[in-house]
Structure formats: C-alpha cells, structure tokens
C-alpha cells in the first residue's frame, strides 16, 4: 500500500474535511469521527483515485456519501440556531494589519458567519461549504452531491442572498464606509 502517496494526496486537505464534517454533523466529536472514517475509506479505495485530479473533491465526495448513508440516517441535525431575539455580534471587514482588538472582533465575525451558515437549509449549506469555503468548482461540487451543475449555482445564488440578508446591516455599513 502506498501510504506515503496517500498521505501526500490527502493530509493537506484535512482542515477542509474537518470543517466540512463539522458543518454537516454540527458537533466536534461527530466531525472527528466522520473525518477519521472518511480517511479510512479513502485509504481503502486509494487505488481508484486518479492522480492529477482534485483529491480534495474526491475526499469530500467520500465524506458526503458516508454522512448520507451512515451518519444522517435517523438522527436530527444538531444545528446551532440563533435565538430569535439574539443579535449577531458586530461584523467588520478585515484590515491589513490587525491589532489584538481587531483579532477579537474577527473571531466574533467568524462565529457570526458560522452561525449564519448553520441557519441555512442543508442543501444550501453544503453547496456554500464546498464552493465558497473550500474552493471546489461548481462542476466538482455537482459531482460530490450528485446533482446537476445548474442546481449548485442555483443553491449558491439563493444561499448567498439569504446570507446577505442575515449579515446585511454590517456588510452594508462597511461597504458605505469604504466607498
């Protein structure tokens, strides 16, 4: 077994796999299990991987199939929902040289964005995760999710409009300040 080749092709993508697993599963323990099981399955089927193709997309497809067949069945998605009365933390855009206070704000930003993504329906959230966050093309995401490319574009478009609506006050303020 070519363990070195396997690790070279897959380990650089572990952050993406874990992040995608976390957004699918909703909790860290399940995300770790899902990531681990994905790597085991990938190892066993590494012979079917075509060198030169996108190994991140290959791993994400294995992970998504695994989630659908073994993790999602019979279990309610443990999503983090915002209370209706709860306001999102202040949102600001990154500057070139952040100080400690800005770093704190950025972490709040990231958390606010994560929660906004978590509020999306699963189909939308998965498309955003694959394309917007982890850089797959729409065609690659379509292969991962076994849907047409146009469906991915449609989901992304609608998901982004919802995200804008959730994050618009801060985005609009920053935009107005910048222009």
């Amino acid at each position: 077994m070519d363990l070195e080749g396997f690790e070279a092709a897959t380990v650089p993508h572990m952050n993406a796999l874990y992040d995608a697993a976390l957004r699918l599963a909703g909790d860290q323990a399940t995300a770790q299990d899902l990531t681990q099981e994905t790597y085991l399955r990938a190892l066993r089927s590494f012979g079917t991987f075509t060198p030169g193709t996108n190994s991140r997309a290959w791993l994400l497809r294995i992970q998504y199939n695994l989630f659908c067949t073994q993790y999602r069945r019979g279990r309610r998605m443990p999503l983090v929902w915002l209370d209706e009365g709860e306001a999102d933390p202040a949102l600001d855009l990154p500057s070139a040289e952040p100080g400690p206070e800005e770093e704190t704000v950025r972490e709040l930003d990231r958390e606010a964005v994560r929660r906004a993504i978590a509020r999306l329906p699963e189909d939308f959230r998965t498309a955003v995760t694959l394309v917007d966050i982890h850089g797959l093309s729409c065609a690659e995401a379509a292969t991962v999710l076994s849907v047409p490319r146009g469906t991915i574009l449609s989901r992304l478009h609608r998901a982004r409009r919802r995200l804008e609506a959730m994050l618009l006050p801060e985005l609009g303020r920053v935009q107005a300040d910048d222009l």
Binding site: N15, T35, Q36
Partner: protein
C-alpha cells in the same frame, strides 16, 4: 445587459463560473452601473467572510486520523477493518492496542494499556516533532541553545554515538515539546533508514507509566514502534524507520547506559 440580468448572474460571475460569452457583457455592465458594482463588491465581501469562517482541524483530530490511517495501513486494509457500528475513535485505539500487543510479544518489552494521548502532552508533541522533520535533516543549535540544553538536561543533552549500530549522526537541535525543552537528535544508516532520539526533563507520558527503572515501554506510532524510558529525571524517546529488532537493541543499549547506577 440589464441590472436584473446581471443580478441573476451575480453569483456565477463572482465565482468565475459565468459562461464565457456572458463575461464581457457583465463586465461592461458593472463598469457603467454603480448599483450593480456595489452588489458585486458586497458579494465579494461575503465570499471573503465565508472563507474566513473555516474551522481548522484540532491537533487532536489530526493526530488521531493519522494514527488510525497508519495503523490501518500497517495492519493491512480490511484485516483490522472496524465494524461500521463502532465509534471510529474507539476503533483507532483498539487498532493501536492490537499493534502494540504484537510488538510487545515479539520484543518482550513492558506491556502497557494504551490510553488516548492528551493532545497537549509531550507524547503528542514528540509524535508531531518526529513527523515534522524534513528530508534535509536537522541543523545544529546555536551556542546559546546548546548551553541552555546542557544546563537543563546535563550531560545527557549530548548526542550519543551509535556508530556501533551502523548509524551516523545527522544533526540535532533544541525543540519545545509541549513546554519541555528537548534535545532532538537524528541518525541515518547507509540504507537511508532514520532514527530519532528525543530527551527532555519531566515525567514519562501516561502511555509509559507503570514501567520501573531500566524498563522500556513500547508504543506503536503508525508503522513504527517508539521506545520510552526514564532515567535520572529525563524522559527518553527513541523511534525510527530501521528494522524494529535493531531499534530495540539500540533502545536497550541506551537505556542501559542512561539508567541510574544502583544506590549504595
């Protein structure tokens, strides 16, 4: 292209997924329409925020996944294949325990239960240190680092000579292993095999607890076995890619040399 046309294509344009024939129309429209230019800016700001929200894998996860993959590769795909109903993390430690049992039986070293390592422990840090080394070998510490190592570790900070085992020194350096200053030495054999020796002042990691003076603890690291022992307040860890019986001989040799002389 109208504003409505553009906004319907905004996501595809922003992602670079718009059909080639429509790209120049979209660009022309944005160049002359402030509203759509603002929408495009907003969309790109949103993309930046989404990308920045990615959560990296915790070190504990990286360590667990790599250990599981290596144990699986070592065992042979399928032979230790876990039942799909068992939690993956539990399977991982079962696989490690099985590999360790085999090593202990062959090498007759101390047999220990294998708990999950604390991600912030010297065990995890030593494992990461072992795997983070590049192919160019280690360098040489600065004079100040060497003096500090000697002050903390004493004479055992020096790199032992393992020429009798066919190994040549391939550099050494000072590293921080979970808050412990460690002397890390690398060796090579003529066949390209690699051996790493780490020493720091502190307690044996939990995995090696239970050994007595002069005993070695074996702990499987993926395809390799690492050997651990404590002597005179120092933790020693030896791991490498060479033949494991040979590595055990080196551990026995170093362990014998480093063990404190009997009192009296």
């Amino acid at each position: 292209m109208t504003c409505e046309d553009f906004q319907l294509r905004l996501t595809a344009f922003s992602l670079g997924e718009l059909e080639q024939g429509e790209v120049s129309d979209a660009r022309d429209h944005v160049a002359t329409c402030d509203d759509c230019a603002s929408r495009l800016l907003l969309d790109r700001q949103l993309t930046a925020l989404l990308r920045a929200s990615a959560v990296p894998a915790p070190q504990e996860t990286v360590t667990a996944v790599l250990a599981t993959v290596r144990a699986e590769a070592e065992a042979g795909a399928g032979r230790l294949a876990p039942s799909p109903r068992q939690p993956a993390r539990r399977r991982h430690w079962l696989a490690l325990a099985a590999a360790m049992l085999a090593a202990a039986a062959v090498l007759a070293v101390a047999l220990l239960l294998v708990p999950a390592p604390d991600p912030g422990s010297p065990l995890s840090a030593a494992w990461s240190s072992y795997h983070s080394r590049g192919e160019d070998g280690l360098g040489t510490p600065t004079q100040a680092q060497a003096e500090r190592l000697f002050a903390v570790l004493g004479p055992d900070s020096r790199t032992p000579d393992l020429a009798a085992f066919g190994l040549t020194k391939d550099g050494w350096e000072a590293r921080d292993l979970a808050g412990h200053l460690a002397a890390v030495a690398e060796y090579r054999d003529p066949d390209g095999g690699r051996v790493t020796l780490m020493r720091w002042r502190g307690d044996l990691p939990q995995v090696a607890k239970g050994t007595e003076g002069g005993q070695l603890a074996a702990y499987t690291w993926g395809r390799h076995t690492s050997y651990w022992w404590e002597a005179d307040g120092l933790v020693w860890c030896l791991v490498g890619t060479i033949d494991q019986d040979r590595l055990y001989g080196i551990a026995e040799h170093l362990g014998g040399e480093s063990s404190p002389a009997p009192a009296g």
